[in-house]
């Protein structure tokens, strides 16, 4: 008699938990390198797992954020002579996670043989990465331009959104939204048609060459690119490092201007992500303030829309949403690969020819 009510306001808990289970096998960003010192630990989170991030002899360490004694957060503790010491009762953990000192009963730590879980950790692209499994499957994303002294690099303050990792990542190479959400800055409502573009898998990445897109020059990103008339045709090359990172390379201007945007998205918990963004450019070195304002404008336009998307995770079934031929090819390929991952298939594609 009564039809089934669709619980749209409820998260697809089973679907998300399956994806999160498989995402444990991949590298995820947990902090900017420059925020992790050998003086005090910082806290991070991945898929509901709280983490303590710290540095020992210059090397980053990522522990489960849970003292074995009474479950306090180790990130509240301090780094003391190469150990991390819990704030509650002073238990000390070595760089490998082993309890080496219990101040209330000196001498018993050696006989206890207790340790906190230590996860694989790496540094790349100015970011600390962690993997919740012993054997990370795909390589850590790289950002070689960081080593180029002719570029200016802007590390944006990390920010959290109430959405899933996949919805956040897709938004970057969702080509038909620029004209609408970013009308007047990255697109024009009256020029909304998206030309066909190229999508392929290379190693653990999806690569996309797309364009040209009409952009406006009255913003710091494009004002150095002299094309006259207030608008500019942009080509965009993307590398999407599965499953959570994207690198946008926007075409150079007439004088070889070059712009890249690197975004790594950490799935913190259901409906919650943290985004680490690095922008690099070889022009307008003194325009950091303007670029920050531009970033705030663009994010402010995207945030309410992306946070509104339902279901929060991408539908398991590609037919759960509609895809416009030639327009949504990039996001469709991303979804296909995520579905493979959530089914336990972690194969990389062949490397690019001649590279």
């Amino acid at each position: 008699m009564s039809s089934d009510i669709a619980f749209e306001t409820h998260l697809d808990v089973a679907g998300e938990s399956r994806l999160h289970q498989h995402l444990r096998h991949f590298w995820h960003p947990v902090a900017f390198s420059h925020d992790v010192s050998d003086e005090e630990p910082v806290q991070g989170e991945l898929m509901g797992e709280r983490l303590t991030i710290w540095r020992h002899d210059g090397e980053v360490r990522v522990f489960r954020d849970l003292c074995r004694h009474r479950g306090a957060s180790l990130a509240l503790g301090r780094i003391d002579r190469g150990c991390i010491r819990c704030a509650y009762h002073g238990w000390a953990y070595s760089e490998s996670g082993v309890v080496v000192d219990i101040p209330s009963r000196p001498g018993i730590a050696e006989s206890l043989n207790v340790a906190v879980d230590s996860f694989p950790a790496a540094e790349s692209a100015g970011i600390v990465w962690a993997c919740l499994d012993r054997e990370p499957r795909f390589p850590v994303p790289q950002l070689p331009v960081l080593d180029d002294p002719t570029y200016t690099h802007l590390f944006y303050e990390p920010y959290d959104w109430r959405c899933s990792m996949a919805r956040r990542v897709e938004n970057y190479f969702d080509f038909s939204h620029f004209a609408h959400v970013h009308h007047g800055s990255l697109g024009d409502r009256d020029d909304a048609v998206v030309a066909d573009y190229e999508v392929r898998r290379v190693g653990g990445e999806i690569r996309i060459n797309a364009g040209p897109f009409l952009e406006f020059t009255d913003n710091p990103k494009n004002e150095g690119l002299k094309s006259g008339g207030g608008t500019y045709m942009a080509w965009k090359r993307y590398r999407i490092f599965m499953p959570n990172t994207m690198l946008l390379h926007s075409s150079a201007g007439p004088d070889g201007e070059d712009y890249t945007l690197f975004v790594a998205v950490a799935p913190l918990a259901p409906r919650l992500v943290r985004c680490f963004t690095i922008q690099s450019r070889n022009y307008a070195p003194d325009k950091d303030k303007e670029f920050r304002e531009f970033q705030a404008l663009i994010l402010g336009q995207d945030k309410p829309v992306v946070e509104s998307q339902r279901p929060e995770e991408l539908p398991d079934d590609l037919a759960g949403e509609m895809h416009v031929k030639g327009v949504d090819t990039g996001t469709l390929e991303y979804r296909r690969w995520l579905i493979e991952i959530s089914n336990g298939h972690y194969e990389q594609a062949p490397a690019a020819d001649g590279k």
Partner: protein
């Protein structure tokens, strides 16, 4: 392992799931301006908009990328999604895909459109194409004999059926509303005549109670006790009209209609009517009194466990006469939610 909330482990939602067969209020008409409005009814997100002067209720989720359409805009005779500019007509059909205009005509997909009308200054929606009963009747709303206040709606963390029951729970007045609607010195509940009429559960009782401050002020010649004949119309599933007749012809009317947002969240729309002290300056006295009453009820009703009334009626207890209306209400809910189970 803590299991301190009985019923929280396995919630029985039968009396929630049956609610999609009825009209429900979802907003005040004044909230529907130029922009679409997001409302949630029975866990379903809906966009309410006025297109060419007509109220329209559509699924709030763009079929393309699941975006909330209520973030978009009404443009001429369509609603446009903010993300990629897909346009929907009033029937929910996709009429434009800007990124690839050629596909617009070949698409045969769209959003569900639901029945949606305005009445009593509220927007009403039925998720069912054939709702079981009509929208509740509230005749005082348009009557020049009454001054009717359309009050600010409120949301409680409770099930809509529990909200309704609280309104017609005659045993609680003496306790929760001691000194307002009853007295702990006199907690007995008299007989309430209860019967059904069409889609309405009727109930009538004459009560003798100490008059509240506002009554003393506005109804002249009152003693320490007043006599009131209370007539109730309970419109299934959870609207209630109370018409109180006092000696001398004075009448005080409350109309409350509950909207189920989810199984444990309810928005109540309500009205106060009266045929005495009709000057607008007196409104706040009646409002203050009713908000006091609501403040007394809210923590109690939000604490009820399980959230939704258990469909096995024997899981809770009933006091003869005092709970007669509650029991009559639950029996009707049982018939509605599972017609086959009742002979």
């Amino acid at each position: 392992m803590l299991t301190d909330k009985p019923g929280s482990v396995e919630e029985d939602l039968r009396f929630y799931k049956c609610l999609d067969q009825f009209w429900h209020p979802v907003a005040r008409e004044s909230e529907i301006g130029d922009a679409p409005l997001l409302v949630v009814l029975l866990d379903k997100h809906l966009t309410i908009a006025r297109i060419n002067g007509v109220l329209v209720a559509l699924d709030d989720r763009c079929v393309h990328r699941g975006t909330s359409l209520s973030l978009g805009a009404v443009e001429g005779s369509c609603i446009r999604c903010p993300y990629h500019g897909w346009a929907y007509n009033a029937d929910g059909e996709v009429i434009e895909v800007p990124a690839n205009p050629a596909v617009s005509d070949s698409l045969s997909v769209g959003l569900n459109r639901y029945q949606c009308v305005a009445r009593y200054g509220l927007v009403w929606v039925s998720l069912s194409a054939q709702p079981m009963f009509d929208i509740p009747v509230f005749p005082h709303f348009d009557s020049s004999d009454f001054r009717v206040i359309s009050c600010d709606p409120y949301e409680w963390d409770c099930a809509s059926v529990r909200r309704l029951e609280n309104y017609v729970d005659f045993g609680h007045f003496a306790w929760v509303h001691d000194g307002y609607l009853g007295s702990r010195d006199k907690p007995e509940v008299g007989v309430h005549k209860t019967w059904r009429e069409d889609g309405v559960l009727r109930c009538e009782a004459t009560v003798v109670e100490p008059p509240s401050g506002k009554m003393k002020k506005h109804l002249s010649g009152l003693g320490d006790l007043i006599t009131a004949r209370n007539e109730y119309w309970i419109y299934m599933p959870h609207s209630v009209l109370l018409d109180r007749h006092f000696d001398g012809g004075a009448r005080y009317v409350l109309f409350m209609t509950a909207s189920p947002i989810s199984s444990n969240r309810t928005k109540s729309f309500w009205f106060i009517g009266r045929n005495y002290a009709m000057e607008p300056e007196a409104d706040h006295e009646f409002l203050d009194f009713e908000w006091d009453i609501l403040g007394q009820d809210k923590p109690i009703v939000e604490s009820l466990t399980p959230d939704v009334i258990p469909s096995q009626l024997g899981k809770e207890m009933y006091v003869k006469t005092a709970d007669a209306v509650t029991l009559g209400y639950r029996q009707w809910l049982t018939e509605i939610s599972d017609p086959g189970a009742v002979q």
